[in-house]
């Protein structure tokens, strides 16, 4: 059979078109391994972020416990998935990364996926607020021979719950009810005719970056006396009698009436060792700051959160300490007491600080899966 040249060309073109059409429908390259590795890295980053916020910053675990829990889980994920990981916790003040710690570290080789997940360390308000008082000292002392007493120094912080974000509370009024002998006790005891005035301190708190403080004292402590001026009874109390003073801080904007109240122990000074005050160089701390704590004697330092008692740091037997807020596993937001105690913790001193909420960035590098 003869084939004309034109027919041959047309035939070849049709066959070519059919083959090209078939070839153009071949499937693309598979990215399954890369997608899988990305998904695992994303899931690790998110779970770390959640656990950090809910189990450490606002939860029961301390830094060491959280680190161990997550590291063991990550090791199981690595074994199960065949991937290697490094996980870093970075904390940011919104502008810079000011602290970091590596919580999981395996060798990274070959193709890798990098995920950085930022998370605000802030829990939405639940509609409630709290006021927390930190007495400057436990026990406050008074003297029956010199009629001098310690300053009744205390601090209060008002916060949104559960985040612990500080509230600005202008015009905080303070009242301190002291346990010294009152008129009824004087008259009832030995028929005194002249009574001491009401043993109450009052005034307005001073503000220092959302921490409100009060400090005042009776000077001298007055007591009961007869008409001829002689003393009926020694006032306030003699010996080892103890009693309670009550601090009341009131912030009352437009009838909101946020009241914080706390009791403190008052005792005759011959029975109580004299303790220094705790001083801090700042009350409001942002991530990346350093807090200078000074105390006039060596003691055990604890920083614990007022909302739930969570302990951030414990340093044994120190008189001055510089605490750098850069380790994510040592920093949680909220109002805190800076507490110095001696071995028996019966006589101690405190100050108050706030750590503002910050941003946590979880950085995960995953490799492998080929």
């Amino acid at each position: 059979m003869d084939v004309e040249p034109l027919e041959a060309v047309v035939g070849i073109l049709l066959i070519s078109a059919a083959l090209i059409g078939a070839l153009s429908l071949r499937p693309g390259l598979s990215l399954h391994v890369e997608y899988s590795r990305d998904a695992v890295a994303r899931s690790i980053a998110s779970v770390y972020a959640y656990c950090y916020v809910h189990k450490y910053a606002y939860g029961p675990l301390n830094g060491t416990e959280l680190n161990a829990t997550l590291a063991n889980w990550t090791a199981a994920v690595s074994l199960d998935s065949g991937l290697n990981f490094t996980v870093e916790l970075l904390i940011s003040n919104g502008t810079d990364v000011v602290g970091n710690v590596t919580v999981f570290n395996q060798t990274i080789r070959g193709d890798r996926s990098v995920v950085e997940k930022p998370t605000p360390v802030y829990l939405p308000p639940n509609g409630s607020r709290g006021g927390y008082i930190v007495p400057g000292r436990d026990v406050y002392r008074y003297g029956t021979s010199d009629l001098r007493m310690d300053y009744m120094r205390a601090y209060v912080i008002y916060v949104e719950l559960p985040s612990g974000t500080p509230l600005e509370a202008k015009n905080v009024s303070v009242e301190v009810d002291l346990p010294f002998r009152d008129c009824a006790e004087c008259v009832g005891a030995v028929n005194c005719t002249n009574c001491p005035p009401d043993h109450t301190l009052s005034g307005n708190a001073n503000e220092d970056n959302f921490v409100y403080s009060f400090e005042d004292r009776l000077n001298p402590i007055e007591y009961c006396w007869y008409d001829n001026g002689s003393v009926c009874v020694i006032s306030p109390y003699a010996g080892t009698e103890t009693d309670k003073a009550t601090f009341t801080f009131v912030y009352d904007p437009g009838g909101l009436n946020m009241t914080a109240q706390a009791e403190a122990t008052v005792r005759e000074k011959s029975t109580v060792p004299n303790r220094p005050w705790v001083d801090v160089d700042k009350h409001l701390l942002m991530i990346g700051d350093t807090l200078h704590i000074s105390y006039g004697a060596a003691a055990n330092l604890t920083v614990y959160r007022l909302i739930d008692g969570k302990v951030l740091i414990f340093v044994a037997w120190v008189s001055n300490y510089e605490w750098e807020l850069t380790n994510p596993l040592e920093v949680a937001p909220g109002p805190f007491a800076v507490h110095m105690t001696h071995g028996d913790d019966e006589y101690n001193s405190s100050n108050a600080i706030i750590i503002a909420p910050y941003i946590l960035v979880v950085r995960v590098v995953a490799s492998g899966g080929v």
Partner: protein, 171 residues
């Protein structure tokens, strides 16, 4: 004329073969690996990175935990809301399938508990939702999640903690 007819007749097999090849490969589109990759990726993202819309009818499936309300809503990807997991288990398969994958595909979700003392995940799933049948093409994605509270599914309790999830799309 005879030659032209012979030529046309000789081209018929070529055209029939080419047409058959194109139609056959087009029919493979839905279940080829690239299509399944996209489907399983999207299903996984929707399940674990979005909170879903459980007030819709039928619900838009998403298991990510959310916090806050009003102007402030925080979404926790790969942190499973136990209430939503319970809701997913009571959803009909057809509603779940249509929410997660395209027509012609099926989906299965299997959860494996983390055993902290053993340092690994259980080999048998503690919960399986979706199709029991895998067809000729199937692709799985593994992710690791945290269940943010106890969940009760079919009378069994899944405790708060870490889980491995295998999402399988088949077609």
């Amino acid at each position: 004329m005879r030659k032209a007819l012979v030529f046309l007749a000789s081209m018929v097999p070529v055209l029939m073969f080419g047409g058959y090849a194109i139609l056959y490969l087009r029919g493979q589109y839905v279940s080829n690996p690239a299509a399944l990759e996209s489907a399983v990726e999207l299903a996984t993202i929707q399940l674990f990175e979005t909170p879903g819309d459980w007030s819709a009818s039928p619900p838009v499936v998403g298991l990510a935990l959310t916090e806050g309300s009003g102007n402030f809503t925080l979404i926790w990807p790969y942190v499973v809301d136990p209430t939503k997991l319970e809701g997913l288990s009571t959803l009909s398969y057809e509603d779940m399938r249509r929410s997660l994958v395209a027509a012609g595909l099926d989906v299965r979700i299997a959860l494996y508990a983390y055993n902290a003392s053993e340092g690994g995940f259980e080999t048998d799933p503690i919960l399986t939702l979706g199709t029991p049948v895998l067809r000729e093409s199937a692709l799985s994605r593994v992710v690791y999640v945290y269940l943010a509270g106890d969940a009760t599914v079919d009378g069994d309790t899944l405790s708060e903690g870490f889980y491995k999830v295998v999402v399988t799309v088949t077609g």
